[in-house]
């Protein structure tokens, strides 16, 4: 049984990267993808998440070349950017909120070429599944 890691930490990013690269579903669904994706996790100090963080994902043709934690600005420099407060991302990672529905409802803000991201809906769904497989310690539950 894997040890839980702190959400959106460097250790978390490594485990997430490993999960994505283990996924044959993602590999097939993301064939042809060649853009970077940034996830901006907005600060919620009252949830013990005092500073925004960015997850920078270098994704290419079905694999994650690297997934790293950086600043929000690092994530915002990516080709596609999805932004939401910490608690929303927690809802996505715990399957309380489906990412597709979240984007349609505007709960997750998406920047980038919409036709491309819609074309790869299945890949983004599998990527969300991969996040749920990483055992996590949530800051607001400490």
């Amino acid at each position: 049984m894997a040890m839980a890691v702190e959400a959106f930490s460097d250790e978390w990013a490594k485990l997430f990267e490993d999960e994505v690269n283990r996924s044959s579903v993602y590999k097939a669904a993301a064939k042809g993808w060649k853009w970077t994706v940034g996830l901006v996790v907005e600060a919620e100090p009252d949830k013990n998440f005092p500073e925004a963080r960015g997850i920078v994902m270098d994704l290419f043709d079905g694999s994650a070349r690297s997934i790293k934690v950086g600043s929000a600005a690092d994530a915002q420099a990516c080709n596609f950017v999805i932004s939401a407060p910490y608690s929303r991302w927690k809802q996505v990672a715990t399957k309380e909120l489906d990412a597709t529905k979240g984007i349609l409802q505007g709960k997750l803000k998406l920047k980038g070429d919409l036709p491309t991201i819609v074309r790869y809906t299945k890949a983004s769904q599998e990527m969300t599944e991969c996040t749920t497989r990483v055992p996590v310690e949530w800051p607001d539950e400490k």
Binding site: T100, K101, L104, Q105, G106, L110, L114, P115, V118, R119
Partner: protein, 123 residues
Amino acid sequence: MLGGLIDANIANNAARRKDFDELKARVGVWVTDIDEGVTLEFQGGSLVVSNGLRPKRDITIRTDAETVMNLSNLRIGLFGMPVYYDEVGRGVVAKLVQGKLRIEGLLGNIATLNTVTRIFSVR
């Protein structure tokens, strides 16, 4: 998001732009699993997007969020017809048969539905 998707599609594709310029219809899209929807009023070259379902719609599509995305992933084949025999198309047909995708106003508006599907398609 649907308005943004249409904008991007017609900017990238002359055939879709032509469809958009010729289409005059009021189309409702209701996403059943989030209980929200929009009305898209195509006015022959312009589009007005309103929250909720406005009256006097020509077509109303009622389905879940995943199927809304899958509708945009339908391939367009011969004569501009959506392709329903590949994996995405079969999934859409299955939802229709199961009653999880409902299209009100379909009879009499098939050509409009095909045009709207082409405009939405990202393939």
